[in-house]
């Protein structure tokens, strides 16, 4: 018995020694670069005309402020003021408590809270209302508000372009805190968002986005860039979420890729919050203790972040096949291509990692490592890294040396106000599907609500039944969140979107 044990230990020791030896001999030469010197990342988006110089950085996208101003006082209704206002109105909301859902379908509306000696305009859903603000108008601005106790969304955009959402406090407000869906050219900055059951800030199917200076915590996903292009996420403090920063391709959405995301100069600290996403949903698959997660997104640049105390790993790079609760989409490329990891400060990550990561470390001969900064599973072609020797890594040995060391030349991806999304006659159903439904329903997987494929099977040739359901949904599934009523859409629109949804093919 004893003998067997000793032999076993010997074998293990020899195997370990061989692993270290071969591991070392396979190691590349150490290449040391300085991020203050060397080439700069060219960026993935070129606005037409000349390149923007740092001094000319765009800080506003919603166009000139309207001159028409109305004031809403405590006890009055914000929605009533917006209904009465012409397009091109600033709605000033005085401190007080407002129990309502605000719909904005006009262009150039700005809802600006007035803060008096720390007292804000508070929208309180009392855990009865679903959404605080839904906007489909363009050039929309929401500022200085406090939003609490809604069940669905804090602020959700539905195909509105040129939006600015800043200086808001959003607490415990359902599934998404700030959620611009299908928008181009938007800023989300200086918001404090917490206790959100899915993504605190969720950029969905949008382009040309800046997410900056937000404080995001106690949520399942901190800041999520999903099926979106040309986004910069910088100077945010992202802490005590289940996962901090995420660049995702969610399969089964109408936009099939996520390309060109820069995560830079953020604090990504202690994202170890137990996962409280609905079991079986996409975000419930995020391991608690994830600093940055890249899943099937391409050209994600990670630079200058302080990433510390995330217990599973500082950075996880994965493909669809290895991710939990993901159903592959034949039209989405499943790999994280061309990830670029520049200098980051990584401390005390991966101190209590998952079994899968431990197995990978073992396979690479990294026995006894107490930390894990970067783990990559699944293919990640064309990826690069600089100063790799400073991190504890698994799966990045085939990353090349990046031919740039910083992103200084890429200021932001914002544009002067862009025209509204073009809606052709007869496309109303499609736009509503893209702008609203796909926020929670993917074609073939479980995001928040049931997959569209399942809805198609349930309603077969009964679009009116579906249109009636979305106006007044009834809870049918214990393990899914309740669907918010979409009765702010008129009956024709509801039928149009139901018809569209029942025939869409991915």
């Amino acid at each position: 018995m004893k003998k067997g044990l000793i032999i076993g230990l010997l074998v293990a020791a020899v195997a370990f020694g061989a692993g270290t030896y071969f591991g070392r001999s396979g190691k590349q030469e150490m290449t040391i670069s300085s991020s203050t010197q060397g080439a700069s990342y060219a960026g993935g988006f070129k606005a037409e005309g000349v390149a923007v110089k740092p001094g000319d950085a765009i800080r506003s996208v919603a166009g000139p402020a309207p001159t028409n101003v109305v004031v809403v006082k405590d006890g009055e209704s914000i929605q009533a003021a917006i209904k009465a206002a012409p397009k091109g109105t600033i709605v000033r909301v005085m401190p007080g408590t407002y129990h309502e859902t605000v719909y904005v379908d006009k262009d150039d509306i700005r809802i600006i809270g007035v803060i008096e000696a720390g007292r804000r305009a508070v929208l309180d859903g009392e855990k009865k209302l679903n959404d605080a603000i839904l906007y489909s108008g363009n050039n929309f601005v929401a500022e200085n508000l406090e939003i609490r106790n809604y069940k669905g969304n804090g602020i959700m955009g539905q195909a509105g372009n040129n939006f600015e959402i800043r200086n808001n406090v959003i607490v415990d407000s359902g599934v998404y805190g700030i959620f611009p869906q299908l928008g181009q050219n938007g800023i989300v900055e200086h918001n404090v968002v917490s206790k959100i059951a899915d993504a605190a800030i969720y950029i969905g199917m949008s382009d040309n986005i800046l997410v900056a200076h937000n404080d995001v915590f106690d949520s399942v996903a901190g800041i999520e860039i999903e099926n979106s292009r040309h986004a910069i996420v910088e100077h945010n403090y992202v802490h005590n979420n289940t996962g901090g920063l995420l660049a995702f391709v969610t399969p089964g959405l109408p936009i099939k890729d996520t390309v060109d995301v820069i995560f830079r100069n953020n604090f990504v600290v202690g994202n170890n919050h137990p996962n409280f996403g609905a079991p079986g949903s996409t975000v419930s698959g995020i391991p608690a203790g994830t600093g940055i997660l890249v899943m099937a997104a391409d050209d994600v640049v990670i630079e200058g972040n302080i990433i510390s105390d995330n217990k599973v790993s500082g950075i996880i790079i994965t493909d669809h096949a290895n991710a939990q609760n993901i159903t592959a989409d034949p039209e989405s490329e499943p790999n994280s291509d061309r990830v670029k990891i520049l200098d980051n400060v990584m401390l005390r990550n991966g101190y209590d990692t998952i079994t899968e990561a431990k197995a990978l470390m073992l396979a690479e001969g990294k026995v006894g490592a107490k930390n894990l900064d970067i783990v990559r599973v699944g293919p990640s072609p064309g990826s690069c890294i600089i100063n790799r020797h400073q991190y504890v890594t698994v799966g990045v040995s085939d990353f090349t040396e990046c031919d740039f060391t910083n992103t200084a030349a890429t200021v932001n991806y914002l544009l002067p106000p862009v025209p509204p999304r073009e809606i052709k006659p007869g496309e109303r159903g499609k736009v509503v599907y893209l702008g609203i439904c796909t926020g929670c329903h993917t074609y073939n997987g479980r995001m928040i609500g049931p997959p569209v494929q399942v809805i198609q099977a349930l309603y077969l040739d009964n679009p009116q039944g579906l249109a009636d359901y979305i106006a007044k949904p009834a809870k049918k599934r214990d393990d899914y969140p309740e669907m918010p009523p979409q009765d702010y859409l008129d009956p024709q629109t509801r039928l149009a979107v139901a018809q569209y949804m029942l025939q869409v093919t991915n």
Binding site: G280, Q324, N325, G445, R446, P450, Q453, Q456, K476, D479
Partner: protein
Amino acid sequence: MLISQARGIAISSWIGTLLLMYSASAFSADGEKLFAQCVACHGNKGEGNATLNAPAIAGQDAAYLERQLLNYRNRRRGADKSDVLGAQMQAMATTLGDDAAIAKVASYAASLPKTVSAAPAPGNLHNGNNLYQGKCGACHGGKAEGNPALKAPRLAGLDAAYIKRQFAHFRDGVRGTDPKDAPGRQMAMMARTLPTERDLDDIIAFIHRQGRPK
């Protein structure tokens, strides 16, 4: 006057309760009696018998069992020539008598303690979980426990061969084709969305893990 009326109501409602209690026990007693016809194949605890191709029915949703028995009797299930096993059940269902008898036996089988299938169902649980959550869980429940609100039966506890066979029936137009069988048609539509047979094995492996002691 008022008092006697109130007393009258009290007495009649008391008698009503008694009658209800009596009929409920008679109902389940009838169900148990009728269930005797099922045990030869489905087992005396309703646990199913894979060798006889008889699925577990213990603890299954009563409305689902009733609907299937009616489907058999009305030749909406088990009538296709290729479904030899279904034809056996179809013959049995016609011997059960009227709608009330069917309701009774369904309700009795539903009242039996849920069982799990002992036969192993190997497969890739990671893929099985992902596909199950993406395609099945929205109706059959996250743990394959079934959802009466969506007319979706419990799948946990069913043996792999039965699930596979029924899935093929749905996919291949053997089951779920009758215009009056709306839930069956829904399942048939979903069955056609699964890419490969291997995926089905993985999903079944996931289902097999559900509802059993850890």
